[in-house]
């Protein structure tokens, strides 16, 4: 530990708002790493607004830290000038949560697109979907918005497998207050009673209310296959009760912990270009009990 007692200052973009479901574990991970490596960690929150992420990146550069961890949501083109500036000033840049293709920077997060594909495949397998089944994908279809890449991956797979799907854009309000999505989804299910599955690519909160949706639509557990993202206590309960079939875990704790490590390694030893797909885990009825304990602490 002595060797890497860094004394570095790292600016870290956390993505959402302090403590929200998709952000918390990342914050905790980053803080843990910072403690271990004695890093001065400075957290920035953008409420998932790509515009704000850009502003924060330029503010980070202005403070001339040793390293900065950025979110990839604004896209490679938009980040170009920021990255150039950072390079000129010798600031280490690490990307998290959403990739910046073509930059060859260290990246920790899902291969979002791949995760979306993964989610679709898991849903098809666990829910035994066949071609011709009708599926609703409730997610983000606006580019640059969190979850947009995931949704894209999901729909690709569905297309390939010949599964009939409809896309529904979630509203800003529902993203903030998932309870608001319940009547919308109930109305959809009522209007389209032949819906076989609902896939929520990328929102822990909405995933957690899927059981309410089915209950209020008068569906029995398993009658409609559902799947979503991010393990939470609500999602665990949903899985236990059989209302939720699969939950993909992007293990955001790693997305917080690893970039700090990578930044320190790069700054100290010049070890660059690390990549880690954090999206390995998923939750089904089979492993629900083992994971439940960790969730309470906000680690998963």
């Amino acid at each position: 530990a002595e060797a890497v007692d860094s004394g570095m200052t790292i600016y870290f973009q956390m993505g959402g708002n302090p403590g929200d479901t998709a952000t918390l574990a990342r914050e905790l991970g980053a803080r843990d790493a910072a403690r271990v490596l004695k890093v001065n960690l400075i957290e920035q929150h953008a409420g998932w607004d790509p515009q704000k992420m850009l502003v924060q990146a330029s503010e980070a550069i202005a403070a001339q830290p040793d390293a900065m961890v950025v979110m990839g949501h604004p896209g490679t083109d938009a980040m170009k000038s920021v990255l150039e500036k950072a390079k000129a000033d010798g600031i280490v840049v690490v990307v998290n949560n959403n990739e910046l293709p073509g930059t060859s920077l260290s990246y920790f997060g899902l291969d979002n697109h791949g995760a979306g594909r993964n989610l679709a495949n898991l849903t098809i397998d666990n829910g035994k979907l066949k071609s011709g089944n009708k599926v609703l994908v409730y997610g983000a279809f606006i580019e640059g918005a969190p979850g947009a890449d995931v949704a894209k991956g999901t729909t690709e797979v569905l297309k390939e497998k010949g599964i009939d799907f409809t896309t529904l854009q979630w509203s800003n309000e529902a993203v903030q207050d998932p309870a608001l999505s319940v009547p919308v989804l109930v109305a959809y299910l009522e209007a389209n009673p032949d819906t076989k599955a609902i896939i929520v690519p990328g929102h822990g909160g909405i995933t957690a209310v899927l059981d309410k949706v089915l209950k209020q639509a008068g569906k029995k557990p398993g009658e409609v296959v559902t799947s979503g993202f991010d393990i939470s206590s609500g999602a665990i309960q949903g899985v236990r009760d059989g209302y939720i079939t699969v939950v993909l875990d992007q293990q955001p704790y790693l997305q917080g912990f690893m970039p700090v490590v990578a930044a320190v390694l790069q700054k100290k030893y010049g070890l660059a270009g690390l990549q880690l797909n954090t999206g390995g885990g998923y939750l089904t009825k089979d492993n629900v009990d083992a994971l439940a304990a960790l969730v309470k602490d906000g680690i998963r």
């Binding site: 708002n17 302090p18 403590g19 929200d20 479901t21 952000t23 918390l24 914050e27 279809f141 606006i142 896309t167 529904l168 854009q169 509203s171 800003n172 309000e173 529902a174 993203v175 903030q176 207050d177 998932p178 309870a179 608001l180 319940v182 009547p183 919308v184 109930v186 109305a187 959809y188 009522e190 209007a191 389209n192 009673p193 909160g205 957690a208 209310v209 309410k212 209020q216 639509a217 008068g218 939470s232 206590s233 609500g234 665990i236 309960q237 309470k296 602490d297 906000g298």
Partner: protein, 340 residues
């Protein structure tokens, strides 16, 4: 001295629409009818309605409180954080200490204190309530994240408890929380139209100078108002928590724009001095039904938001036009031109 026209007796339809809330109720019915046509499968069944009634009470209760606030010429934007705070207190006490009714009381007390502090900031620091409560939205919101350490809490096992049946249970398929919301609506109506507190708010919103001169204790009434708003927001928070059995630190944020919209769609004037409680009830229902109705009608992807905006405008205009066509300058113009 003026003289009423001794013309034919008044049109009974026009008279009917003079009753508080009938025009907006009519607009709401039209909307439901429309969705019955465009999405018969969903809107001819009962489930959609039960789902609304389960989910609309929290924003409706906040909107009712906000109606009083707007009547007094003030604004409260801090309610999302109060909702979150009350939700957290309730969940935390339930989870860690197995409290139920005490947890409810504590949650309500928390909201009440927060509202009281809002009232103090507005009256004692003299900060206009819009900016003061916007600041408090951040302040309280930050605080709840700090105390909850950002974590979400889930209390799924509350579903068996008595308190859950009382606040989020079902009578048959009917969600009891809707009865609570209606109860709050009746109470707020009585307060605004029949209680001295409501009268004070009406005069405060109408003209501060006049309110002072007729002997209304302006600061005290305003503090009471924000305190009540805090209490109602907290109650909404508890109802929300019972229904979703979860606390998120973002809880309530999604209500910010929709609750404000509900109040004004209901016809309450932003200029203060007048308020329509029945309007707010239907305003909340309209706001809640629009998106679900559009989705069930199969409105394609990105058009939903566009249509939400459109329905807002049409609803507000129709509400005004049914009450009195002369309230809509365009119609007034057309009518006076037609008369010539």
């Amino acid at each position: 001295m003026a003289h009423a026209d001794k013309g034919p007796p008044n049109n009974p339809i026009a008279a009917f629409f003079k009753i508080e809330g009938t025009p907006i109720a009519f607009v709401f019915l039209l909307l439901v009818l429309l969705f019955m046509l465009t999405a018969p499968r969903a809107f001819m069944g009962f489930r959609v309605y039960m789902s609304f009634m389960a989910n609309v009470p929290p924003p409706m209760i906040i909107a009712l409180g906000l109606t009083l606030v707007v009547v007094a010429g003030e604004m409260d934007l801090s309610f999302p954080s109060v909702v979150a705070f009350a939700s957290y207190v309730f969940c935390a006490l339930y989870q860690n200490y197995d409290m139920t009714w005490l947890a409810l009381l504590a949650a309500l007390a928390t909201g009440t204190v927060m509202g009281f502090v809002n009232g103090l900031v507005v009256t004692k620091l003299g900060i206009p309530s819009l900016i003061a409560t916007l600041a408090m939205l951040f302040l309280w919101g930050g605080l709840v994240t700090v105390v909850s350490n950002g974590a979400s809490l889930a209390i799924p096992d509350i579903e068996g408890e008595l308190i859950h049946s009382v606040f989020a249970g079902r009578i048959g398929v009917f969600p009891v929380q809707f009865l609570w919301a209606l109860g709050v609506a009746v109470l707020i109506w009585m307060v605004l139209n029949r209680h001295r507190f409501g009268e004070s708010l009406l005069f405060i919103g109408d003209n501060l100078k006049v309110a002072k001169v007729v002997g209304i204790a302006i600061d005290r009434e305003k503090i009471k108002l924000f305190t009540l708003m805090g209490l109602l927001s907290a109650f909404a928070g508890v109802l929300l928590t019972m229904e979703t059995t979860t606390y998120f630190s973002q809880a309530g944020m999604g209500y910010l724009l929709t609750v404000v919209a509900a109040v004004f769609i209901g016809g309450t004037s932003i200029f203060g001095g007048a308020g329509k409680v029945v309007g707010t009830v239907f305003g909340s229902l309209i706001v809640a039904i629009i998106e679900a109705g559009l989705v069930a009608s199969g409105v394609a992807g990105f058009w939903t938001r566009f249509f939400i905006g459109l329905v807002f405008i049409v609803s507000v205009t129709m509400n005004a036009a049914i009450e009195d066509p002369d309230k809509v300058p365009l119609l007034k113009d057309l009518r006076s031109r037609a008369r010539r």
